[in-house]
């Protein structure tokens, strides 16, 4: 019997156990409510509450809601904590159910040098979850910024198990997965391409965000649809106490965020916009013969309304667009337009104190239109996705031992994708794809799930669940199920061992181009030919905190298999009439590695050190002579170090350093003469021994930054005004990191040469931020 079968049976047992356990609840008192920021009213996602009497606790969900059941009896102390906020202790009498909303004070607002900062919780050790990293937004803002733009994805790429592509490529890569294997959600809406400017910035404006969580293993059952990671981003709700304006003026872009109450403590809004003017700035400095246009913008808006004590509505929207063009006589030329739009309507409802329900209706679109010219050839890719999504999730807290989640999710996808490449015609008139003639492909994706976070004993906890996704098109239907389990065993009060097993399925695919250097993101749905991708991941971890959780350390090892990976057939040239599915070959991939992470959470010096040692390989029957070959982003070593130092109340210094093994690419190893009539072959053909046989030079880069902060008041002391000058230098020692390598052949001697293209040298920047 395989592990998969065992887990399938265990999943059934889990359902039974939950039902029986929940039905035998002892006399308990439930304390529930919201944990919020006292100054803004923003919910504090992941804040914890802890009973000093029973030594049990709970954490706030995405909406700041918590529910903690304690045995009826005497009073207890409840400690509410959140990193960066002053802890609050409330004494409650456990005689009847209590509704308790707590507002925590940000520790930064305390002017004393000896700030009583909340002790960091030890959830990373105690919770039965692994491969989960919360990234504080404040930390993102403090790190050195490329061109003055702080960036969520740049920080995500500094975490263990995560790596960036080459400079200038979009997306990020988690535990050997391709970039399409990451589900990026903004307020539950899928963002298919979360990048601006070829991955140099993310599409998310940090000022509009509340929380960022990355899950790369041990996935709870509510998440699905991608093999490798979930990046769950929550927008701010808007200050429900007073109006605030926040903005930044940078070298390439500026942004502004306005938030405030619509009805104080009842309803609030936030609107945030960012626009670049890089194209206008660059124009005067361009050498003759080069033309370039580049601009992007993004817009976030959200309204929330506390309809009643038990009902809350949220309406959020996001729109981000990029438009770029570059023309030079002897280089790569391109024109690109892409963008994401999302709209989410959510309704929170509380049934009593133990059952929290969120229902969402989501609409999102993604469009990429890329044309590129390289040498005598051009290519065009058009990829359009339109999703209509509805979901509902129940979070049930029957007692202090269980946290049960169940729900359903339905998405109607429309895909419009095609690509073509051809030689440039003599009249130089490129025949563009007739995008309105690309036949749309419709599909239905749905899932139901059940998950329980079960504290079995003081030392042992289990997070187990099952998800049953389905994917239906007019030609084919796929039904499957995914057992998930994470087991935690505490070694002592500050360390634990964890093990996780997860199965994931993915019904949407990006077909990666092995040769194109620009983002060739051709999204297609599963079909009769293109089967769903499926992964199984095993992970083991040791987690330990030191010095009252000031330091977090962990070592995780994982092994992940990925079935039905897609790639283009050798020699594929996309034409307007090409059936993409018929141009594909299918294989498997597997990745294994170890991730080391140490993080300092509090104090003047904070930051982390992450090191990942990993191997990722693929095997396709019809590629590479059927032999195993390394994945393009198989990188043996990835090291990142991040540090922030509070030099004084006004100055904060920061730095980050990254090093990674170069990514893999394919070059021929040998040359053979074509002697007999080889004129049109240029007299030579190439011998390839292995796909991805070469490595780009290692990538390394140091960035530094300094922030000067000044507090003053406006309007005769009535309005506090905070200003910041952010100075940063990207790639301090201007290391020419490789973007890609290509070959040229001397027409007379026929001797080949390799050329390396690099993108970003040292880039200093300065940004002025303000807040009032």
């Amino acid at each position: 019997m395989t592990l998969h079968n065992v887990l399938q049976r265990l999943s059934l047992c889990l359902v039974f156990t939950i039902l029986t356990t929940v039905s035998t609840i002892a006399q308990n008192v439930t304390i529930s409510g919201y944990i919020k920021d006292s100054e803004t009213g923003e919910t504090l996602i992941g804040a914890t509450v802890y009973s000093t009497k029973t030594k049990t606790g709970a954490s706030a969900n995405t909406y700041g809601f918590y529910s903690l059941s304690l045995p009826k009896g005497d009073s207890t102390g409840l400690v509410f904590t959140y990193l960066g906020y002053t802890a609050q202790i409330k004494k409650v009498v456990l005689s009847q159910n209590i509704e308790l909303t707590v507002k925590l004070l940000p520790s930064s607002s305390q002017l004393s040098e000896v700030t009583v900062t909340a002790k960091k919780s030890d959830e990373n050790v105690q919770k039965p979850q692994m491969g989960v990293i919360d990234i504080p937004i404040q930390k993102i803002k403090e790190l050195p910024a490329i061109l003055g733009e702080t960036d969520v994805l740049k920080v995500v790429q500094l975490l263990p198990g995560v790596q960036s592509g080459n400079e200038g490529t979009t997306g990020f890569f988690v535990r050997g997965g391709n970039s399409d294997q990451n589900l990026v959600q903004l307020d539950e809406a899928v963002v298919y391409n979360p990048n601006h400017l070829f991955g140099l910035f993310s599409t998310f404006n940090t000022r509009a965000l509340n929380n960022v969580t990355l899950i790369k293993g041990g996935f709870p059952a509510q998440y699905g649809g991608r093999l490798s990671s979930i990046l769950d981003i929550t927008m701010k709700e808007g200050n429900n106490q007073k109006y605030k304006v926040e903005g930044g003026i940078g070298i390439i872009s500026s942004n502004i965020t306005i938030e405030g109450p619509i009805v104080k403590e009842k309803a609030s809004f936030i609107i945030s916009a960012r626009r670049t003017y890089l194209d206008l700035l660059i124009k005067p400095f361009l050498p003759k013969g080069i033309t370039t246009t580049y601009n992007f913008y993004d817009l976030n808006a959200k309204i929330n309304w506390q309809v009643s004590k038990r009902d809350r509505l949220f309406l959020s929207a996001f729109k981000g667009n990029d438009k770029a063009g570059y023309t030079e006589a002897s280089s790569i030329n391109y024109g690109i337009k892409f963008g994401n739009s999302t709209a989410t309507l959510r309704w929170n409802h509380l049934f009593g104190q133990k059952l929290f329900v969120n229902t969402s209706i989501i609409y999102n679109t993604y469009l990429l239109n890329l044309s590129t010219v390289q040498g005598k050839y051009y290519a065009q890719v058009y990829s359009g996705i339109n999703d209509q999504n509805a979901k509902t999730e129940f979070q049930y807290y029957p007692n202090s031992k269980h946290k049960i989640m169940f729900g359903a999710n339905y998405t109607y996808h429309t895909f419009t994708s095609q690509g073509k490449s051809d030689k440039i015609p003599k009249n130089l008139q490129l025949a563009n794809l007739k995008t309105n003639q690309i036949p749309p492909r419709y599909s239905n994706e749905m899932a139901v799930y059940l998950n329980d976070e079960y504290t079995i004993t003081k030392r042992i906890a289990l997070n187990a669940g099952v998800r049953t996704p389905a994917f239906i098109t007019k030609d084919v239907s796929y039904y499957t199920w995914e057992p998930r389990a994470t087991l935690k065993v505490s070694v002592d009060s500050s360390s634990s061992l964890k093990a996780a097993y997860t199965v994931m399925n993915q019904f949407l695919h990006i077909v990666p181009s092995s040769s194109a250097s620009l983002p060739f993101d051709l999204w297609i749905p599963s079909s009769k030919i293109t089967k769903p991708e499926r992964s199984e991941q095993y992970a083991l971890g040791y987690f330990r905190n030191f010095k009252e959780n000031k330091y977090e350390a962990s070592v995780e090892v994982y092994y992940k298999t990925m079935q039905n990976q897609v790639a283009f057939k050798e020699g594929t040239q996309l034409l307007e009439q090409t059936n993409i599915d018929s141009s594909l070959v299918f294989g498997k991939g597997w990745s294994y590695g170890a991730e080391f992470f140490i993080k300092k959470n509090v104090g003047k010096l904070t930051g982390w050190l992450a090191y990942t040692l990993s191997w990722t390989n693929q095997k396709f029957k019809d590629l590479n002579y059927g032999e195993t070959f390394p994945f393009k982003y198989d990188r043996r070593h990835v090291l990142s170090a991040v540090a922030t130092y509070e030099l004084s109340k006004r100055w904060t210094l920061s730095a980050d350093f990254v090093f990674s093994t170069g990514s893999a690419y394919t070059l021929p190893v040998g040359r053979v003469n074509v002697a007999d009539g080889g004129s049109l072959y240029d007299g030579v053909y190439y011998v390839y021994d292995k796909r991805n046989n070469y490595r780009l030079n290692p990538y390394h880069r140091l960035d530094i930054g300094a922030t000067y902060r000044k507090n003053k008041t406006l309007f005769k002391g009535k309005v506090p005004f905070v200003s910041e000058w952010v100075f940063s230098i990207y790639n301090v020692y201007s290391h020419r990191n490789p973007y890609f390598v290509y070959l040229t052949v001397d027409p007379v001697t026929q001797e080949p040469k390799a050329k390396q293209v690099s993108l970003l040298p040292i880039i200093p920047s300065v940004t002025y931020n303000f807040k009032f």
């Binding site: 070298i251 092995s514 040769s515 057939k569 020699g571 003469n673 002697a675 001797e751």
Partner: protein
């Protein structure tokens, strides 16, 4: 502050514009040179076998003379055994000698031939049967502009009827005289002969594309061929259609696809599969149609 701001803007702008491009020396991967055999038998012609060694990709050895595998013992056995000997032919276009191994017994149709090449202590064997049908060209014409996977190009149009009842594989052949004013339509750049001083010389060119009759067995077929060399008004040429054996067809089709992938950066790379155990290359045969005179109309 203003000066600083403008300095930063200039640096940033330059960073984007001057995306650095430089020659890099790549550490050569371990590559053991392989023997390459290329031999197509034509009925009525003596065998011509090109034997060379492959070289590491970044090797500066590029000419046929540098790569020729000397001292091999080669036999082709049909009704009798033909011992091939070293010979060479001058390539007037590239102005260099091309060494090869030459047989003395003309091949005949309907015969199976066995190749044996012994080189550096190893023996390589292959066989081919010349049993392809000969086709007749029904017409030729010219098109100024034609569009296919190779892009837009002029073309010589060749019409003929496929021979029904077998899987057939065809390629184009053109023989003509050119002078040093004629450029090769090389994808690497336009080059022309620098050693013929304007005098005419003979060239033979083969089409890169291989045409399969799958699904059109016995029906009329049409090629539109991009000639390998430039031409002038009223230049004349003799046009042929070759019927290849399966091995040769697959081999040259793969090279064609590989070439396309090298030229077009948006085409996936192609790994060649060998047709001869232990080495690379092909031993095959072709039956050539009767020639048709073609006059360039422009």
């Amino acid at each position: 502050m203003r000066k600083f701001f403008f300095l930063v803007v200039i640096l940033v702008s330059l960073g984007f514009i001057l995306s650095c491009q430089k020659d890099v020396k790549l550490k050569p991967l371990q590559y053991d040179s392989q023997l390459s055999i290329e031999c197509i038998l034509y009925p009525g012609k003596v065998p011509q076998l090109f034997l060379s060694t492959s070289v590491p990709f970044f090797s500066s050895n590029t000419t046929p003379q540098q790569l020729f595998a000397r001292g091999a013992s080669i036999t082709i056995t049909g009704t009798s055994t033909d011992n091939l000997v070293e010979d060479s032919v001058f390539d007037n276009f590239r102005c260099r000698w091309v060494p090869y191994y030459k047989g003395s017994i003309p091949s005949i149709i309907g015969q199976t031939y066995y190749l044996s090449v012994t080189y550096a202590g190893k023996t390589y064997t292959a066989s081919t049967t010349i049993n392809q049908p000969q086709v007749s060209i029904s017409s030729t014409s010219f098109v100024h502009s034609f569009h296919d996977v190779y892009g837009e190009h002029e073309g010589v149009i060749v019409d003929f009827n496929d021979i029904a009842g077998s899987n057939n594989y065809y390629r184009f052949q053109m023989n003509r005289m050119i002078d040093s004013s004629v450029y090769g339509a090389s994808n690497l750049g336009l080059i022309h002969s620098t050693c013929t001083n304007g005098s005419f010389f003979h060239i033979k060119e083969f089409g890169r594309s291989i045409y399969f009759d799958k699904g059109i067995d016995g029906q009329s077929m049409q090629f539109v061929i991009e000639p390998a060399f430039k031409h002038k008004l009223n230049d004349t040429a003799y046009v042929f259609v070759q019927s290849l054996d399966k091995n040769s067809a697959e081999f040259y089709d793969n090279i064609d696809k590989q070439k396309l992938a090298q030229l077009n950066p948006f085409v996936e790379p192609v790994f060649l599969k060998t047709k001869i155990e232990g080495c690379i290359g092909v031993f095959g045969s072709a039956v050539v149609s009767d020639s048709v005179l073609f006059v360039y109309p422009e």
